[in-house]
């Protein structure tokens, strides 16, 4: 009995099923963070990914508000992602509704965070510098941003455009003209095609608009962060580092929100992976009709990628929050030791 079951157990199929679980990404993220915490404890490394650096502790006070805004924004993106999941699944019934906002929620949360940050920077810009600092170079939106982070955000925007166009072109309308279906036809038959909910134009267009708005917000905040004047010459180096931290936070939140949205889109595209067997009552044919999409392999790959993108997004957001938020309660163990030794 056991061996029969073992024979019929298909690892890839079961792992594929597991990857469709919406809570897989948060669970994997928690496991990874626990593993990372244990690794840090045993290696006792300092200045590793996500740790608060000396620069962060000594950055000028006026940057504190902006760091806090970004840190809270990173947490807000995660919280709103789960709130939307609970509201959609357990509070309201969105049957037969094109709930595109499920993919746009992280984008909107990130966009609002950057909007608040932009207002903060703009309000500070009106204050004249205490003593002007002469710049030797032109400052642009690229001046402080991490190159990898900016390039990553660009790649994600391109991936979103490609996904929207490809999925939109493959989608079909319902009787109300909403492009929300993918149709899978059985070859050489007159059977009506099977229809699955899909990431068609009805989802893709509003989401890509949100991606565009978020990309513009990221560009505007990076630009405002770079172009504002330095306060005093003595602090220019520290301010430069603080701006680097802010720019890194901007790119982390933008890319994480895009990763979450793209992960969601990939999950819906995974609906069309197939192949699907169809049997018809009264049909003398003994074998089920096999229906498959031309790009089923791509859909299956998207299904595999979705949780990975989401894990990467959660990690980015948590690391950004840890780096940007002040740790008043987190006392350094070494402080106690030093005090005890001195006394």
């Amino acid at each position: 009995m056991f061996w029969d079951r073992l024979d019929s157990f298909n690892i890839m199929e079961n792992l594929g099923m597991l990857s469709t679980m919406p809570l897989l990404a948060p669970i994997l993220t928690v496991l990874l963070l626990v593993a990372y915490g244990l690794f840090r404890r045993f290696s006792r490394g300092k200045g590793q990914l996500g740790s608060r650096t000396d620069h962060a502790l000594t950055s000028p006070a006026e940057y504190g508000f902006e760091r806090r805004t970004l840190g809270i924004g990173a947490i807000a993106v995660i919280v709103l992602y789960f709130v939307e999941f609970v509201v959609r699944g357990y509070v309201f019934n969105f049957y037969n509704t094109v709930d595109w906002w499920r993919y746009a929620t992280p984008l909107i949360a990130a966009g609002l965070t950057l909007g608040v940050l932009l207002l903060q920077i703009a309000s500070r810009k009106t204050v004249a510098p205490a003593r002007p600092v002469v710049a030797t170079a032109r400052r642009t939106w690229l001046s402080f941003g991490p190159r990898a982070g900016i390039a990553g955000t660009g790649v994600l925007v391109a991936a979103f455009v490609a996904t929207t166009l490809a999925a939109g072109a493959a989608s079909s309308p319902d009787d109300r003209g909403r492009y929300i279906y993918i149709e899978l036809a059985a070859a050489n038959t007159t059977i009506d095609p099977l229809r699955f909910w899909f990431y068609g134009w009805a989802y893709g267009i509003p989401v890509i608009i949100c991606v565009g708005v978020l990309a513009i917000m990221a560009w505007l905040t990076l630009r405002a962060n770079a172009l504002r004047p330095f306060r005093v010459p003595e602090n220019a180096g520290t301010e430069r580092r603080a701006r680097g931290e802010i720019a890194a936070g901007i790119t982390s939140i933008s890319s994480a929100a895009m990763l979450l949205a793209l992960g969601g889109a990939f999950r819906l595209i995974n609906n069309a992976r197939g192949p699907w067997g169809l049997t018809i009552d009264g049909d003398p044919r003994s074998e089920p009709y096999e229906m498959t999409w031309h790009y089923a392999n791509l859909a299956a790959a998207a299904g595999w990628l979705a949780p990975l993108l989401e894990v990467a997004a959660f990690m980015l957001l948590l690391i950004a929050a840890r780096r940007l938020l002040p740790a008043h309660q987190r006392r350094q163990p070494s402080e106690n030791t030093v005090t005890a030794e001195v006394v």
């Binding site: 002469v134 170079a137 400052r139 004047p229």
Partner: protein, 125 residues
């Protein structure tokens, strides 16, 4: 060219004069290399908390003293004759300074090593 290079502009003590002096100091001390682009008028105005017209006036002073050259689409660049070093060398010195500061190297050590490497490279050449 009514005035000689380095002559004090008429409205001494004005914000434009202050900006002019600061940039002249950067160019003559070699902190800006030849051919290097100056920040935009808008950025300079922003950095000094003045109107763009004031910053543009300062750039005119620099141009009149042949410290910079302004060309359409190329922006305002440090002139070949006024600069101490080429832009490529100054940029690398700046990068070296940032890196040395980030890793906590001593200025005297950096200069010492630079001198040793310089002499060695010159000997090889």
């Amino acid at each position: 060219m009514g005035e000689q290079a380095g002559a004090v502009p008429a409205d001494e003590g004005s914000p434009a004069q202050e900006i002019y002096r600061q940039f002249r100091g950067l160019i003559t001390s070699g902190q800006l290399g030849s051919g290097e682009r100056l920040p935009t008028v808008r950025q300079t105005a922003n950095d000094f908390g003045v109107a763009p017209g004031t910053a543009a006036k300062a750039y005119k002073f620099l141009e009149r003293d042949q410290l910079v050259v302004t060309r359409t689409a190329a922006g305002t660049r440090v002139s070949e004759t006024a600069a101490v070093l080429p832009a490529s060398v100054v940029r690398r010195i700046r990068d070296l300074t940032v890196e040395a500061e980030a890793v906590g190297s001593d200025l005297a050590d950096v200069i010492g090593v630079l001198r040793v490497i310089w002499n060695k490279e010159v000997d090889v050449l």
